[in-house]
């Protein structure tokens, strides 16, 4: 067993780190403050291949693997979790299920513009009454000739309004329960599809989160993803894979806060000493650094298990669970090391702390991750 990154992954990390430092970090404070979607960053991300990392070149992807993708999310999240959210939702939740469950025609049609970054993707599963219990879908899709007609509403949808392609989960046959749920590819300009209110969030404010409304929304029957009744399975498998990226995001947020604190505590003086010279600071950073490394190993393991074609659910849920806690814990403690300056918006700590909380909630709460882990470990 060798824990070193391969040469190509090491060079990828170097690329991600310099891109994030130069292109993403300078905007992080502003897009948080003004709740602005960083369209210019997304365009640059497309230019350098960041919008299609873990997909084959024949569909316009970069030919990378899950580890290459996780490294990108980690490095970007160090500086701006909102930008990482945009890329993760696009990659894992939209391009992911099309690649996994789409027909060859659907892949040829939808993946190249998504993966080249010409179009942005989103995923609509959550509803007002269907959060952790995703089986309670109220959005309905009815077959009508060569079309499906969608009615209902989705909430908390990342990239809504800016995305061109939406994966929408809807009930096609309520009598069949989860097996009556189907997945669809809906384009932004589909008749009857509109974007509802934009949510005001605690963190990741630069990412857009809105309601999606379907009123007799008509889409071609060819846009059914997989077969009728497979939608719940497709959604769950999509989330299984997506958790690796979200875990990497929690990890990256923690690393960002940790690095800020290492720097700050070496400069800040109190009682005639740099505060890094106090043992409390040293113990805090030693503890956090150790936890970060443990979580990093788990994220990379989950990614490598997926890349090896093995069952990775256990590891992706463990990683998401622990990295969610890591992000919240490390940002809170790093803010404390900054004292009053940590609480001031001029420093990035309070933003990092607000951003970190979402990792414990979206794409399956920490509690849902524990349900999955317990199930996988056969604890009954």
């Amino acid at each position: 067993m060798d824990f070193a990154l391969s040469k190509e992954h090491a060079l990828l990390r170097q690329l991600y780190a310099s891109f994030a430092e130069n292109e993403i970090k300078p905007l992080a404070e502003e897009i948080d403050e003004t709740e602005r979607f960083p369209a210019e960053t997304v365009a640059k991300c497309g230019q350098y291949g960041f919008m299609g990392v873990p997909f084959p070149k024949k569909y316009g992807g970069q030919g990378g693997d899950t580890l290459a993708y996780a490294l990108m999310i980690e490095e970007i999240s160090r500086h701006c979790a909102a930008t990482a959210t945009i890329l993760a939702a696009h990659t894992s939740l939209c391009a992911g299920p099309i690649f996994m469950a789409g027909s060859e025609e659907q892949k040829q049609k939808y993946l190249p513009p998504l993966l080249r970054g010409e179009k942005l993707g989103a995923f609509g599963l959550t509803e007002a009454g269907a959060g952790s219990d995703a089986s309670m879908q109220q959005t309905k899709a009815r077959r009508d000739g060569d079309d499906y007609v969608l009615n209902g509403a989705k909430i908390f949808i990342t990239n809504a309004g800016y995305a061109d392609i939406y994966i929408i989960i809807a009930m096609t046959d309520k009598s069949k329960g989860n097996r009556g749920i189907s997945a669809f590819i809906v384009e932004r300009d589909a008749p009857g599809f509109s974007i509802g209110k934009k949510e005001k969030k605690m963190g990741i404010k630069g990412s857009s989160t809105c309601e999606l409304i379907f009123e007799d929304c008509r889409i071609p029957a060819a846009n059914l993803l997989g077969a009728e009744g497979q939608g719940f399975k497709i959604a769950m498998r999509t989330l299984d894979a997506g958790r690796i990226g979200v875990a990497a995001q929690g990890l990256g947020i923690a690393v960002g806060a940790f690095e800020e604190s290492r720097k700050y505590t070496r400069e800040r003086k109190q009682f005639g000493k740099r505060i890094a010279q106090f043992q409390n600071t040293q113990f805090e950073l030693a503890d956090m650094g150790s936890r970060i490394e443990a979580c990093r190993l788990l994220v990379y393991k989950a990614a490598c298990e997926k890349d090896a074609g093995r069952e990775f659910n256990l590891y992706s849920s463990m990683a998401k669970y622990l990295c969610g806690g890591l992000g919240s814990d490390v940002t809170r403690r790093c803010l404390q090391l900054h004292g009053g300056y940590g609480y001031i918006r001029e420093y990035p700590l309070e933003r990092m702390m607000r951003d970190a909380k979402i990792i414990e909630i979206y794409e399956g709460t920490s509690e849902i991750q524990k349900v999955i882990v317990a199930g996988q470990l056969n604890v009954k």
């Binding site: 291949g49 030919g63 290459a68």
Partner: protein, 264 residues
């Protein structure tokens, strides 16, 4: 057009450590980068290729085996081929031995334009590029801030401290690039993956260039430069601060000091 860009891998820090015996740089443990001026040269070549897509860019680096990553980075930015000139016999080279080695390799390659960086941030000599041109008998333009290819010639804007010079050179020729010549692009994700999976770095050792070089000009033994002493400069003592002077008095005082030290 066939373009060759010569690059050097340099330590990414100003705190270079020196081997106390040979007075050469210790590279282990120091992060390495492509020398900034050289990277601008890569970008300039890539832009020339964008304007003339049938162009081909070869990137050449002399260095130890770990310089491979600098060449991979150049490939990941979009260069077509890479050659690493690496042999123990090349080690410890000064600018004369380095330019002799690189010129020997260039004699084996087709080219219309050779681009090198102006100077490396570790040695700061600015000699290797011009020496290569001399070895090859090529026209050269150093300190290039802007370049433009017009048919069979290249127009170069050369930067000096107090002026510019715009000159035309016939191809083939050699240009040394300033960092200002072109802001380097990032590597792309697919570029990195291709750089390791599809492209390859050819390694040329002494045997590969033996017939185009006099081996007496190689490596430490072929280097006429003798380093007498290397040291880290110590901070000078505090300067003299003149306070509360009017502008005229200040001029008078400064000019007086300069006269006193026979500087003017």
């Amino acid at each position: 057009m066939k373009i060759i860009v010569c690059i050097k891998q340099v330590p990414d820090t100003t705190e270079v450590r020196l081997d106390p015996v040979t007075n050469t740089l210790i590279r282990d443990g120091v992060p390495s980068i492509i020398n900034p001026d050289d990277k601008a040269g890569i970008e300039a070549a890539l832009r020339l290729k964008e304007a003339a897509p049938d162009s081909e860019i070869t990137v050449l680096c002399m260095g130890p085996p770990q310089a491979d990553v600098a060449l991979r980075e150049a490939l990941a930015m979009g260069c077509d081929q890479a050659i690493l000139l690496s042999d123990r016999a090349f080690g410890g080279a000064d600018t004369w031995a380095t330019s002799s080695t690189i010129a020997a390799a260039l004699k084996k390659l087709p080219y219309d334009l050779i681009i090198t960086g102006r100077q490396a941030i570790d040695g700061d000599t600015a000699q290797v590029g011009p020496q290569i041109a001399e070895h090859l008998g090529l026209p050269q333009a150093s300190y290039a801030e802007a370049i433009r290819v017009e048919g069979k010639r290249v127009i170069v804007k050369r930067q000096f401290e107090d002026r510019y010079q715009i000159i035309a050179l016939p191809l083939p020729c050699l240009i040394t690039a300033l960092a200002e010549l072109a802001t380097p692009r990032y590597m792309s994700v697919a570029g990195i993956l291709d750089a390791y999976r599809e492209k390859r770095v050819q390694v040329w050792d002494l045997a590969a260039i033996r017939d185009t070089v006099d081996t007496a000009n190689l490596g430490l033994k072929g280097s006429p430069t003798r380093v007498k002493k290397s040291f880290t400069k110590q901070a000078k003592g505090a300067g003299q601060v003149l306070r509360d002077l009017s502008a005229d008095e200040a001029v008078e005082a400064i000019v007086g000091k300069l006269r006193e030290k026979f500087i003017i």
